[in-house]
């Protein structure tokens, strides 16, 4: 009997001891940048987008030798921590990157739940984190000193596109808006609703639905109500399903606005011609006129490099924002002019530099807010209205970046 207990304890300690692979090497000629993102689990689709963005940046910066500090070039090494789409794992990954790998900085998660649990850990270790995703306004309300984001919160992006629609001659006067019940989609739908009411569009129906809910009865109801605009916040599977339902019941609203996932090639591939004229929101496409002070010189240049590296997954704004996050670190670390490994004081100084940074990149302008509801997120970007045209994502507004004329109303499904 007693021996069993000893074995149990022994096994326990041995097995866990095996986890203790000590951080290797004192390689002080490189910057160690940790990456926490969803490489597996429900959010893996989004996580892989951020991974591509971060990888592209690391590759580019290393191709030119690395970041130059006082005449010496230091390469960048990305160390990955999979948060498995779970908050507990995100915190664990953060702890591992901070305590064991002793990273100098962190590039952040795809989702807000995972960001919210990783951030406190990084606050404790005073390691700055920039996330190229995580659009939920909740994060910024927490006012984490060490967490930044290159994407503006979704209520900022979402409201802009509604305003574009409202400004059209004969624009939508009525709307039906739904959102899936997860942090991001909910925030999107709420942003749509709030702005619609603000600009005088009557919201006939609004609700937050259980994730992956079959929407046929809801759209049948919408068909009767006949709104000009149908708005939906959700993820890739739900977006495809919604369009299919609309085609199946043969209801074509004048405008169909969805966020996020419209810009994914899988969406267009799954729906074929029915994807055309669908509207989405974005803060970056390969066509906008940006000039990068650092890294890729233009949006198109980035697009070309990214598409060559990942031909099956052309970059969307989350990927661009992720690469931009890397560029921001690059600029800030150069300005810090301290060789790695960075100690706590250096990292705290890095945060000060990040707060004062005003950087032009291929992605657009990066300037983090230092107070208010959008604290430490990048509210300096111009939201773009996207419309799928001929199977491609095209900018329809604002006018100075437009690649195509906004088609409103949509051509009915059965006439395509």
């Amino acid at each position: 009997m007693r021996r069993k207990n000893w074995w149990a304890a022994g096994l326990c300690i041995l097995a866990l001891g095996a986890m203790l692979v000590p951080a290797t090497g004192m390689a002080a000629d490189e910057f160690k940048i940790g990456v926490i993102t969803s490489l597996s689990g429900d959010l893996a689709t989004g996580g892989s987008v951020t991974k591509r963005g971060y990888d592209l940046w690391a590759k580019a910066v290393n191709a030119q030798g690395g970041i130059e500090i006082s005449g010496k070039k230091y390469s960048v090494r990305l160390i990955y921590g999979d948060d498995q789409s779970q908050p507990a794992q995100a915190a664990s990954a953060a702890e591992r990157l901070a305590a064991q790998e002793k990273v100098d900085a962190v590039l952040g998660p795809y989702a807000s739940g995972t960001t919210l649990s990783a951030a406190p850990v990084l606050e404790k270790y005073k390691i700055p984190m920039i996330t190229g995703s995580a659009e939920s306004p909740l994060i910024w309300k927490q006012k984490f000193r060490y967490t930044f984001g290159t994407i503006p919160p979704v209520n900022f992006t979402g409201s802009a596109v509604i305003k574009v629609l409202a400004a059209l001659p004969n624009g939508p006067k009525t709307a039906v808006i739904y959102g899936s019940n997860d942090t991001f989609s909910k925030a999107t739908a709420e942003a749509f609703k709030a702005t619609a009411e603000q600009v005088g569009i009557k919201v006939l129906e609004f609700n937050i639905l259980p994730p992956k809910q079959d929407m046929t009865p809801l759209m049948s109801k919408a068909k009767v109500l006949n709104p000009d605009l149908v708005g939906f916040g959700g993820h890739d599977e739900e977006l495809v399903n919604l369009v299919k339902v609309l085609t199946q019941i043969n209801f074509t609203p004048k405008a169909l606005l969805m966020h996020y996932g419209v810009t994914e090639p899988a969406f267009i591939q799954a729906l074929g011609k029915n994807a055309n004229q669908v509207l989405g929101a974005s803060v970056w496409t390969n066509s906008i006129q940006t000039k990068g002070a650092l890294g890729w010189p233009t949006a198109k240049a980035y697009y070309d490099v990214a598409a060559a590296e990942y031909p099956k997954d052309p970059p969307d704004y989350t990927q661009a924002a992720s690469s931009a996050a890397g560029l921001v670190f690059q600029a800030a670390l150069s300005q810090l002019a301290t060789a790695p490994p960075l100690d706590e004081a250096a990292r705290t100084k890095l945060v000060d530099i990040l707060e004062k940074l005003d950087l032009q990149t291929f992605y657009g302008r990066v300037k983090f807010a230092t107070e208010g509801d959008y604290y430490h997120s990048n509210a300096g970007l111009t939201p773009l209205m996207i419309q799928i045209t001929d199977g491609k994502e095209m900018v329809a507004a604002p006018a100075d970046s437009a690649q195509t004329k906004l088609v409103y109303p949509m051509t009915p499904w059965d006439k395509r």
């Binding site: 429900d42 893996a44 689709t45 892989s48 739904y178 019940n181 609700n207 937050i208 639905l209 259980p210 992956k212 809910q213 079959d214 046929t216 009865p217 809801l218 049948s220 109801k221 068909k223 009767v224 890739d236 599977e237 495809v240 399903n241 299919k244 085609t247 199946q248 019941i249 043969n250 994914e264 899988a266 969406f267 591939q269 799954a270 729906l271 074929g272 499904w413 059965d414």
Partner: protein, 295 residues
Amino acid sequence: MLVLLPQAIVDGILLGGIYLTVSMGFSLAYGVLHVIDFAVGDWIMLGAFAGLTFTQWFHLDPLLSLPVIFVIFAAIGWMLQPSLQHVLSGSRGRPVLMALVFTFGLALAFRGSALTVFGIFTHSLNTVLSQGSWHFSRGSFFLTIPVIRLAGLVYALAVMVGLTYLLKKTDFGLAIRAVAQNKEAAGLMGVNIKKTNAAVYGLYVGISAMTGVFIGAIVSLNAGMGPDLALFAFFVVVLAGMGYLAGVPWASFLLGLVQSFFLIYLNPSYVLLALFTILYVILLISPTGLFRRGV
């Protein structure tokens, strides 16, 4: 919103049709083999991806793949069943749990394989029936019936009719019913239990795979779609009475109608809360299902 009433009913029935496709094989498997197959959703997922592959290779309508998919997957199920039987039997005890966990492991393996081969994205199967819809209107009442959903319902009913015929009118069906009722006695009567079990499981897997093609066409398909489908299969089969095949259509339509009415007339946010609470309460009041004919 009375004008929506006929549409609500039709939407509910069509939704029920989808649930029927998911649950009918599952109910058969439980009734005969006494197995709660956790992998039911993932068999469906594999069938959907098989349909996708078929379309990509041969450039034919996915619906044409149905017989091929049925045969392939029925064979896979037939070959797999003896392992399942091994898990269910013997001195190990707790067959329900063992089978549940075994099929749970299989489901994970299927999901991982699908993720590896097909990736994380959502796909759609496009058939000639995908876009059509039938319209009827009389005065202010109207009805729109999407053809592909109707096709799903027709498929489900056809399979139910086929299964009923098989079970009631053929010798093989008699053997199946005998095994379901009393395995030992059936064996004593000369029924080859091993073959019957294998055949039933093969039938179930084949049907589920075909269902996958329909789900891919009506809704969409992706590697992670399994668990949500398994959820509805459990739901329907419990409502119907576990193992009571005849109850499955009624339970499916009920589930579809409740959802449809809830979504249209009540607050959609609460639809799943209501459904799971209803399921729980029904289990407490009448565990053998609405018709009290469960096993």
